[in-house]
């Protein structure tokens, strides 16, 4: 049979109707969901965050040259930048893996419709082009290039260099698709990254020299930038094929199972009834990729303080304190923000078991407290070489996170009715993101009060007094535990039925 070739305009019409159909489906799933209110709120926060980064990133682009030249007294900041690009991209891959959501289209129902498989995959891959993680690169590159041109770097050569960087940004974009579905590749890349860092740390081998030579060559020979683009195009088609071939329910859409092993956490039994739940939560973190990723992300935030410590001149002491506060709160804001959603799949079971609601919530609180205490101790250790002030700030932040933010997060949990599909990472089109930006953005308002308290103390007296005020507030919160708990339980009890209903939408 002869296939009629479509004209260009017919193709365009077809394409736009397809895109429209997909968008309509997603629109419906958003507005017909149980927790529309929460969704809208998180969207608002998300845009708030995007605006924040959209503002801060160009600023970084403008300042990179100046800071490197004047603060760090580096002779050629552009060379220095190229030297470190290898780490920038390494970091970018890691960030993407943990944060960037893989575009999700509910695949199975579409398989039997006249929408072609290529169309489905193209939609998923195409959507990611406009991901925050790609666009933000332009926000940085444009002002940076503008500054560089003003510092007498060659325009046409900079264009070649920019094209190269953009190609690499998109290579990490599509690499992320594969990493999310291929554990072996993930572990090998992780091992290579660690190895590079170790070899450099012990000065066995310095990759940055090669990074410098490699990336700088695209500046000296702009034509070379074709090569990464060729690679990018190849990678796109590789990913495209990979996903298209996976569109069978016994291949890519099949659940991957792992061999189960019993974990005996009986040493926890000394903590009484709380231990019963703690044991399960530990197993959850160990066995669910999503929970595991969230905890790992929390660990990243341990190092958050450094960002603001090294740029205190720009952001001021209040932001440095913000960094320390986040360092101890990583677990709380990442994992804690999804309590009780972690139990969403079996919430009815929890509601029928021989345990009172209060005890259940208390066990969740204990988990958050233990996580935050460990984070605080680790952060104290990490920042100890920055001096006593840093330790003091970390401790104050930790106390506040336990005494105030712990309750706030739990209380907010009564209203965050987002079900979490713990097993969803099991298929390649599933929602593989370990956590998303929205948790982070919900956490931001919680930071406003302690920073205000610190700033007042710092403004009128000193940083130590500021820390003291924040720490004392935290201790007060811990002392008021029973009263606060009664309020939290009340919120949970009124919300119980609608939470159960929302979780059923899993």
């Amino acid at each position: 049979m002869l296939k009629k070739r479509r004209t260009f305009s017919e193709r365009m019409i077809y394409l736009s109707t397809m895109i429209f159909t997909f968008l309509k489906l997603q629109w419906k799933s958003f507005f017909r969901g149980e927790s529309v209110g929460v969704n809208v709120m998180t969207k608002v926060f998300k845009w708030f965050g995007i605006v924040y980064f959209g503002f801060i990133t160009p600023l970084l682009g403008f300042l990179t040259y100046k800071v490197l030249k004047e603060k760090l007294e580096i002779e050629d900041p552009f060379l220095y930048l190229n030297k470190n690009l290898i780490y920038v991209f390494a970091y970018w891959i890691v960030m993407r893996y943990f944060i960037q959501p893989i575009p999700v289209v509910s695949i199975k129902p579409l398989l039997l419709t006249p929408i072609s498989k290529s169309q489905i995959v193209r939609h998923a891959l195409g959507k990611s082009v406009f991901s925050f993680f790609n666009i933000i690169a332009f926000f940085y590159l444009i002002p940076l290039t503008w500054v560089l041109i003003n510092k007498d770097y060659q325009v046409n050569q900079l264009i070649g260099w920019n094209l190269t960087i953009i190609a690499f940004v998109y290579i990490t974009n599509y690499l992320n698709f594969i990493l999310n579905n291929n554990d072996k590749l993930l572990y090998s890349i992780a091992a290579i990254l660690v190895l590079i860092k170790l070899l450099e740390y012990y000065s066995v081998f310095d990759f940055t020299i090669y990074s410098e030579a490699f990336f700088y060559s695209f500046y000296t020979n702009p034509l070379y930038s074709l090569l990464p683009w060729v690679f990018l195009i190849w990678l796109y088609f590789y990913v495209f094929k990979y996903f298209k071939n996976g569109l069978y329910i016994d291949l890519g859409l099949k659940k991957r199972t792992e061999e189960a092993k019993i974990d005996d956490f009986s040493w926890l039994d000394r903590f009484g009834k709380t231990a019963v739940f703690l044991k399960n939560d530990l197993r959850l973190i160990k066995r669910s990729k999503r929970a595991r990723g969230t905890v790992l992300a929390g660990i990243f935030f341990l190092f958050y303080g450094f960002i603001f410590y090294f740029s205190e001149d720009i952001y001021g002491p209040s932001m440095t304190f913000f960094g320390y506060l986040f360092a101890s709160g990583g677990f709380l804001f990442m994992f804690g923000a999804f309590v009780p959603s972690w139990d969403s799949q079996y919430y009815s079971l929890m509601m029928c078991q021989n345990i009172e609601y209060k005890e259940y919530i208390k066990s969740k609180w204990s988990l958050v407290v233990i996580g935050t205490s460990i984070s605080t101790l680790l952060a104290c250790f990490i920042y100890s070489f920055l001096g006593a002030d840093a330790i003091f700030a970390v401790l104050a932040g930790g106390l506040y996170n336990i005494g105030i933010n712990g309750y706030l997060t739990l209380w907010a949990g009564a209203f965050t009715k987002t079900p979490i599909d713990l097993d969803s990472n099991k298929n390649i089109f599933g929602d593989t993101k370990a956590f998303n930006m929205k948790t982070l953005l919900i956490a931001l308002p919680q930071m406003a009060l302690p920073i205000a308290l610190f700033s007042i103390g710092n403004y009128y007296y000193s940083a130590s007094i500021g820390c003291l005020i924040v720490g004392t507030t935290g201790i007060l919160g811990i002392l008021l535990k029973e009263q606060v708990f009664n309020l939290i339980i009340k919120a949970y009890k009124t919300e119980k039925y609608s939470t159960l209903k929302a979780y059923k939408q899993n």
Partner: protein
């Protein structure tokens, strides 16, 4: 044991449950039948305080379920897969429920071992998490967990669905033994009227949320129910 008074559940204008009075005495094996949308699961959810009825209240052993949590210590249930914790192994799941019911690990082991036949070697000692078991095996684990710790009231929604014939027969025997030996009040719903008539001493038929028939099981019951469902 369980008393329902003036229970109604309305979603906007649609009434999905409307029970004026229903009393289930201690030790009774109670069966609930009806077509899809008759309100079986809604009724069980109300008994477990998972859904708040629009009017009326439920007493479980004298405890009002919506205002007190005391009923939780002597009541257990398995309604659907939201009663399973997917990332646990079956053993861990049994220990977890057992611990909440105040059982020691050894006691749980002893209890579980009685069900070796029922499990058919597919639940214990395997290398799978509950999420990776088949629907039928998941149900077996869930039902047995609901029997842990000698509850006075056991509520099972569609316990026979998804089970293979041998397992169905074994499960019926287990439920019969339980009601004969322990004076346990058992509430079961099913689409299979034959299963229910075999197990239950009393059968209530729901239609659009209302009690249509309330029968003490006798040799004619199956015929009577069949006549209803034929329309």
């Amino acid at each position: 044991m369980i008393t329902l008074k003036n229970i109604t559940k309305k979603y906007s204008k649609q009434t999905v449950l409307d029970i004026i009075a229903l009393d289930i005495p201690v030790g009774q094996t109670f069966g609930l039948v009806g077509n899809n949308g008759a309100g079986k699961t809604t009724m069980f959810s109300c008994l477990l305080d998972l859904i708040k009825p629009t009017t009326g209240n439920v007493l479980n052993n004298g405890v009002e379920v919506a205002s007190s949590e005391k009923w939780k210590s002597f009541t257990s249930a398995f309604l659907d897969d939201t009663f399973l914790i997917g990332y646990l192994m079956p053993e861990e799941y049994f220990y977890f429920i057992g611990e909440l019911r105040g059982l020691k690990k050894k006691e749980v082991d002893e209890f579980i071992n009685q069900f070796e036949d029922f499990f058919h070697g597919e639940i214990l000692g395997g290398k799978k998490y509950l999420r990776d078991l088949s629907k039928g095996n998941q149900k077996k684990a869930g039902v047995v967990a609901a029997l842990l710790g000698k509850p006075k009231v056991v509520i099972l929604d569609e316990p026979f669905a998804n089970l293979d014939p041998s397992t169905q027969i074994r499960l019926k025997q287990i439920l019969k033994d339980l009601s004969n030996n322990n004076k346990t009040t058992i509430l079961v719903s099913s689409h299979d009227i034959q299963d229910v008539t075999e197990v239950c001493e009393r059968i209530v038929l729901l239609e659009k949320g209302k009690v249509i028939k309330d029968i003490v099981t006798n040799p004619k019951t199956l015929k009577e129910l069949e006549a209803y469902f034929k329309g």
